[in-house]
Symmetry: D2
Subunit: 329 residues, 4 copies
């Protein structure tokens, strides 16, 4: 089982609460001999870090990663790579214990599952956990140097026109409200043959990985839901003798296995659940009260979703590369 672990041969395990002393992860199964230092990982963490603009959470976390094991003289040794980030700006007072369940947040479901929870900042449900996914993804990228992974926000609040985003974000922030977003991630350079049929399909692994990101509510590969609206003759990606395809409706995956085309994943992020607009809710004793979140939160959590989607895609691809090499290498 893998409650807090992800992957098989290349395996990430994360730990830590948003408001504990630190968060961290262990990357197990990384091949030996790869060049790795803190700087490489930090570069990706900095892209995800909060406090960098008015549209993301004002929480100030330097998020300095420290590699504690698995690297010797600048190279991976094949042994587990432990990384930690200290939590330096954890204001627990923002999270009183008698607060109502925040609708859309994990509070209620956690209490239902565990009978108790760490109320400070969402505990493991905090988006802060995703920092360690980004750290793990940075290591994963070293395993797949042939692959280039890039992502972009392609829609905010239902609007695909980038020029209007600043205005609608300003409006939502002013209203204490939040907006959803759609992130698209493209991985080029993946050779044909990664993934596996049936229950380890590459697209299934990507879907599970991306739906497991906080606030994700939908995942599609290639044309995705759009493909359900095409005819078979429109959706077919014709092949030419030079090995190229004439289109990429499939998003680079057929029958669960990569085709050599660009892998295209889109993830729908719901609007941030923590908003200042009051929402009717209850507290742990069932008393009705409005939930009004005063903590520091992003008006559009999807904006910061890109680096996390990239990290999950990198983790999946690194794992699949090793698995393919193991079975068919």
């Amino acid at each position: 089982m893998s409650i807090n672990s992800f992957g098989h041969l290349f395996r990430l395990t994360t730990w830590g609460e948003s408001h504990g002393p630190a968060i961290g992860c262990v990357v197990d199964g990384c091949p030996p001999g790869l060049e790795l230092d803190d700087t490489w990982v930090q570069r990706f963490l900095d892209l995800r870090r909060p406090g960098t603009s008015k549209n993301v959470s004002p929480r100030q976390e330097p998020d300095r990663v420290q590699i504690l094991s698995g690297v010797y003289e600048g190279r991976t040794t094949g042994t587990p790579i432990a990384m930690t980030i200290e939590n330096v700006d954890a204001r627990s007072a923002d999270y009183p214990i008698d607060a109502p369940y925040r609708p859309g947040h994990a509070d209620f479901a956690y209490d239902a599952k565990y009978g108790l929870r760490d109320p400070r900042g969402g505990g493991r449900a905090s988006a802060r956990e995703t920092a360690m996914r980004v750290a793990g993804g940075a290591v994963a990228r070293l395993v797949i140097p042939e692959v280039e992974i890039a992502s972009a926000v392609v829609e905010i609040g239902g609007d695909a026109d980038e020029s209007r985003w600043e205005a609608i974000l300003d409006e939502a922030r002013a209203a204490g409200d939040s907006l959803g977003a759609i992130v698209e991630c493209i991985a080029t350079g993946v050779p044909s043959g990664w993934g596996a049929p049936v229950y380890a399909k590459l697209d299934a692994k990507l879907a599970g990985a991306c739906m497991g990101i906080n606030a994700a509510k939908g995942v599609e590969i290639g044309d995705g839901f759009g493909a359900a609206r095409l005819k078979g003759s429109e959706n077919a990606d014709a092949m030419r003798s030079d090995g190229r395809f004439e289109s990429n409706h499939a998003g680079g995956i057929s029958g669960g296995i990569s085709t050599g085309q660009a892998i295209v994943v889109r993830v729908a992020f719901k609007p941030t659940s923590s908003i200042r607009v009051p929402v009717p809710s209850i507290d742990a004793s069932g008393r009705e009260m409005d939930a009004v979140t005063k903590g520091r939160h992003d008006p559009c959590v999807g904006i910061r979703g890109g680096p996390v989607v990239e990290a999950m895609v990198a983790l999946v691809l690194a794992d699949q590369k090793l698995l393919h090499r193991g079975q068919c290498g």
Copy 2:
């Protein structure tokens, strides 16, 4: 690893090619003492069976399941339940070995991965494999008697108006073309607390399960991609003191854990890849030729997707129930 297995405590392993002597599965981890016989499983297989209408493949398979182990005097014993279905109508001649890669199908990617493949009927990539998912799902339902799972096609060829479906299907069939579809599956009765945070989120497991179904290209939970177009205040599911929610934008899952509301999953199926409309392609030696599929195929594979989506949802929920009982029971 789990190329051909699905689940942890409740685990399905399937085997068999479309055109071999039989297909089969092993269900491992089923709790003891549950009433089970062939009839129960057959009931669900009959719902998925081809040859039942003009809109699904005319292949005639009686699909009689036989339980070979794990049941004694009508009850499960806790040991592995093996089931098989003989392949009685496998016409290999429909699949010549020098055929071009069928665009959108797994042919090319399989060759790229394995260097060889069983060309008869798609091998493991055949939708026939999903019969064993349905068989496994039938057993899974016994583990979660408190849950009701139902599904419906909600869109065909981009059209949500059911009254027009027959006409557009007739048209596509006549043209040798195919249509995509969207299937919605709803599971009611799931108590709050199933699932787990971070990498074993219930929605992540459902997304992985459903994206792993043949021809699936998109998965959403609750409002899904629609949630990305709502404001936080619109998307919030208010809670009342009687423990009820006033809406279900979340689709029954918060923070990866069930809330007690109905779980809502939607799956986008691409149009059947095997069509009579010629599509430019190549054969294994790289020679250009049009792919024209003459085998027996569904004009809209999504129509038969419902029972498979239900099965995958049942498999996920049975597994999560046992896991929850293990960790928190």
Copy 3:
């Protein structure tokens, strides 16, 4: 979890009761392109088959294996290989339901765990299940052609002198009693570097594999318990510049990783639990009565242990080879 599965990348799942219609297995993760047919597997099954001498169970099972999937034109395709053997000589009458728990057998513990069991012939606890391990092991050998695996009984009833075994076996059989045995298995040709440190040590995997064989009560690697009686200077395997070791106290494994020397495993098998000598016991309702087993059983189960030990060693090595190639290849 893996109640009825063994291995990671190369994975065996078995099913079937001793007295059901058949037993079977699924081998998942076998690399493509390996030559495989029924004959190869049958060869190993024949070595294990009962009814071949007076010292093994007189049960007459032809044990004809049938490969149902995963092979096309004589070669593995990379997809799951299903195999079955029909149970043709299952005399359930030998196992009355009101029988006492057979001491040393799994009867009591099964009832305690599952609340019910299939009383016919021990169900999954029957040594018959090991036929499928042998079948899986036969496929595993194809993955590791560089390795030669051989085994021998080295002790029966505490006696290492082979010339006396026939006499003590005759004596035990005549008395309705049984004898234990020790089997030694040697794998040569394993290159250095297979296995992994910490929790996936090659010796740990071998120990788990062999202790999981029916009736096994002890496992040792290299000098094993004898090493606990040596000084460090006596136990050290000196190395020479030609890459050879001057001794092999370690049994071919250091720090959980193969050294390139022969891998040496010894397994202690207890005497067959099913004996004609009466042993005080109880039935399921707690009533005291003597257990006297009349079914067909081996006077020394260890004699047939060799092919099963070899199979488990082959399964472990095939899996470790693929894992090593995946991580370090």
Copy 4:
């Protein structure tokens, strides 16, 4: 896969090199609501700690454990429990990079596997890693309060007479040599029904767990190798109507499932490989030279094996309890 992880529902992952900044672990799957603080874990670490007598390594490590996550107000929350211990007395100078491979140690096999290694103190192969097993085992004990686990050294240098141990240890130490030992661990209070048939047998899990401890070369359950020298009539554990057994040759496990009797495991530890007696060896370039280890090492590593064996037994039992509850609860 689980190179650095152990267990399924209750899962320990460890990281860290002997001479890096710290070692640590993550315990995943611990049920919520259990009382836990640093003091509890420290108590078990102190029993294992080096530097406490002349017969164990003089390395001075305070080994102060710090819990970094998964505990809130003194109780486990069900989320991952991260623990670390700083390495404060790591003298790398003891481990020159041009040293010969230490015979019996993991040096050579590591180089063969990974192509490079951290030469300081054995890296992951160092017995220091076992501190985190003890920490994990301390948490595991909380999951199984009904079970009492105790261990004792029962043999040193082949001698079972405790009164002679000090003398033979003094002698070995003076000679720069080392001695092997046998540790026996007994777990009482385990109810009948834990474990599972076939590949998840309780004894198989214990054997894998214990053979994975550094320097372990043999494992036996109950009478173990001794059972191979008994007759079936001698080895049978008669049962009485009060549910008690008249003997415990089986060591508390039948058919892979606990019987309710005391579980008895014995582990053979080879003599410490690092000795001052010169042993012919080679360095990484193949040059012949004597290996003479000057670092700080235990003259009898088995003496400190007891707490580690107990920890592994606790980890196995906690996992099996949760698994049993999941499948049969």
